[in-house]
Point group: C2
Chain length 466, copies 2
């Protein structure tokens, strides 16, 4: 059964009201002295409304074009439109492009004497503090544009992946290509590769160390990890989008710590975090609209495109906003999932093409899926699996001779099902959302409370008095 | 019969030699004080080699993914991979991103005291003239990036068009969306909307007139026309790519007039034309590689993606290089084709979905295709068609009662077949290439010789002494 392609009357009216209110705010912001953060919120409203409607309308079109997949975790295995993340991404990118004047224009008007050399930038003292707080300077335009370029590269290659079904070891590198514009513009535009050394190491390395090209390797690694991390923690309805929304909300919460009234301004990190907010609010808008259609029971699938796109949004704000370490702290479940998966990724244990939890039509529940050992594992692997079983990290099935014939797949979703027993798909998704939220909140707490133990100052500007 | 997916031994070796030579030049350029224009040439070599190989390899993959079409102008109507322009575009975009440091980096090193404020730009006098000639200043980075963003938007939407088969009246607007990044960055970064008034009009308007928002409408119109102009002059093997290559080569020839030894430097227009060369050389590289596979008899189709992409490359260099009037002079065949098509576009005359010339299997020739009048045209249209027939602009078929039952489709290709009689597909394509070249050369001659009749100076800097 293909989903309906029209909006209900109440949906239409809700979206129109949201659109109208958003446009009113945007026009008001542009004409007055309004704040870009408010405009960004309004853009998120437009993002939600446009994405919600387009996903509904384009469903049958996508299916007709062959962009479809079966939902194996339902009794009827319905055929759903695939790659809907591309719709999100296109709406998002066009809106972020349209947002450029809101982020930059007034600054230019203020900073020049009306035409002429627009590179003249006023000194901090000359700008009223209120404005300083909410606008970031024009010389960051290149950085903003490079972030958009990176996202577009990842979206183009992601669509190619969804269409052409690229091999696993090739698709891991798609975010690497996506990172190139960001890294190149960083190289051309800033080129700062010094990092602050944690206090315990300062006696060996000095207060600041220049990582040089290693810093670019690090940034590329972050950009490769985030999209693939999200893409790997996938397989049940709504999980890709829900985890992305949680991460985005936590990042926005973190950004707000750097704005008034939490942090005195002017503050050196304010600009970076405004940058982050401008990128994240519309992302939350498009993602929530997608989540409405993708949450259990899914009406659409998101495709690899969405995972790459979402991960790249995080990489862009983390890298260009200079808080990539904080960013990684919010990816703890994804990191665990990756590390836990390595035995299968490196083919020490057989890795089937899909490792998502197995649906039992009789119970309507999901249980951990398994990989089958056609020939029993070698003794060393066998012993390692035994140890993991005793640690409750895997579930094994043995034949009469005591040889392992099945072991569960090494993903966080399967592990959760081993621990908690079979459960419904939506319950599992909710548990993952809760896990992501708890880990993230803990990480942010640690980052802001404990960072002072290893650094002389939190970059929120609170000095640590020894 | 699907095409072979492997390169022959001689092809492999030729491409490897080209790649090797190009990489050697690029490394040499980056390490030494080399010139970006040479590096850009080497990038074009890489572009050709990469595109040539990838189109061959990806052919079967595209067919498997459903990106395929039938070549109706062949006796066997073979099934060919479609949308190969997307491969061109991706290779091109990644290379243009990789080219950023070559275009900008040395400038920065020269213009700053090693780190710190990189916005300091040296005065013209301080830069050795040789360098001034071949590099453009750092503050154009945003403009370069916005050009790339525009191209990426058009490629993403073009792929969507090829996949989802968007309606005609919607797809016309795809380039309009593509133009947005360019126009917004123009608005934020430069905002110059004054134009020089031709001498005969100066007594009414003054020497310079500020067009304001009309200038943005004009730029958007250029950006909408170029891609759609190329997309409309299509339908036979190789024609889309061949016309684009001709236009690109003529634009490069025009750009070279602004470089030494033709123009004394430093010259205000040099930067814009370097910008144009950097965008056009790799475009010629990917397009020639595509042409090798797309020329008669085609092994692959280019898709709407290519037409949008190619047209947008021209719009970007024309608009950001500030020579959009010259650009439009090179689109005379496309403009004629558009104007000639208007009776069908506005449905005064019935417009079938495809208007490409009709293939006759018996002769192996193409002849003008026709649209059928189920009910005879109204008297006014009938009389107009009669006049057009007397002008040799249409061919009509009448029934015994003298009513029009068929009229040829209004495209340049059909008109050429009316004038010259049926001919083979490759001969028709060659004639179109010749027409494009002759029109373009004439236009450039007029532009550089005759412009002085209506403007006080050619922007090559030669004053007109009254």
């Amino acid at each position: 059964m293909s989903p309906s392609a029209t909006l209900s009357r109440s949906e239409t009216w809700s979206l129109l009201v949201l659109l109208g209110a958003s446009f009113a705010i945007i026009v008001n912001t542009f004409e007055g002295e309004g704040e870009p953060v408010i405009a960004s919120l309004a853009f998120s409203g437009v993002a939600f409304a446009a994405t919600y409607g387009m996903i509904r309308w384009l469903g049958p079109v996508f299916i007709k074009a062959g962009l479809k997949g079966e939902d194996k975790a339902k009794p009827t295995e319905p055929e759903l439109p695939e790659t809907m993340g591309a719709v999100c991404a296109v709406v998002y990118l066009l809106l972020l492009i349209a947002f450029i004047p809101f982020a930059f224009y007034k600054d230019i008007v203020a900073a020049t004497s009306g035409g002429g050399n627009r590179d003249v930038v006023l000194q901090t003292e000359q700008i009223e503090t209120g404005r300083y707080l909410h606008r970031f300077p024009h010389n960051k335009l290149a950085s903003y544009l490079s972030g958009l370029l990176s996202l577009q590269v990842v979206v183009i290659l992601g669509i190619g992946d969804d269409l052409l079904d690229i091999r696993w070891r090739h698709k891991v590198l798609i975010p690497a290509f996506g990172a190139i514009p960001m890294l190149i513009v960083y190289f051309v535009d800033f080129g700062v590769t010094q990092v602050v050394v944690p206090v315990p190491l300062q006696r060996y390395l000095g207060p600041i160390v220049d990582l040089g090209w290693l810093y670019y390797i690090y940034m590329a690694a972050v950009a490769i990890f985030c999209p693939n991390g999200i893409n790997m923690l996938a397989g049940i309805n709504g999980i890709e989008v829900a985890q992305s929304v949680v991460i985005a909300c936590l990042l926005v919460a973190n950004d707000m710590l750097y704005l008034a009234p939490f942090t005195p301004y002017p503050h050196p990190a304010t600009d970076s975090h405004l940058f982050s907010i401008y990128f994240l609010l519309p992302f939350i808008g498009v993602s929530l609209a997608l989540l409405c259609h993708n949450w259990y029971p899914s009406k659409v699938f998101v495709g690899d495109t969405y995972c790459y796109f979402a991960g790249m949004v995080f990489a862009v704000v983390g890298i260009l906003g200079h808080f990539s370490k904080t960013l990684l702290l919010l990816f703890i479940p994804q990191m665990f999932n990756f590390l836990y998966s390595t035995p299968q990724l490196f083919h020490i244990i057989p890795c089937p093409r899909h490792r998502l939890p197995r649906f039992s039509a009789s119970t309507g529940m999901l249980d951990a899926s398994v990989t089958e050992w056609d020939i029993p594992p070698p003794p060393l692997v066998s012993r390692a699996l035994g140890i993991l079983q005793r640690l409750h990290l895997v579930r094994l099935t043995k034949n009469e001779e005591g040889e392992i014939i099945e072991s569960t797949n090494f993903t966080l979703l399967n592990l959760w099902l081993i621990w908690m027993g079979p459960m419904k798909e939506d319950k599992l998704a909710l548990r993952m959302v809760a896990l992501q939220t708890v880990c993230g909140l803990l990480a942010l707490f640690v980052r802001h409370r404990m960072a002072l133990l290893v650094f002389h100052e939190d970059n929120r500007g609170i000095r640590w008095h020894v």
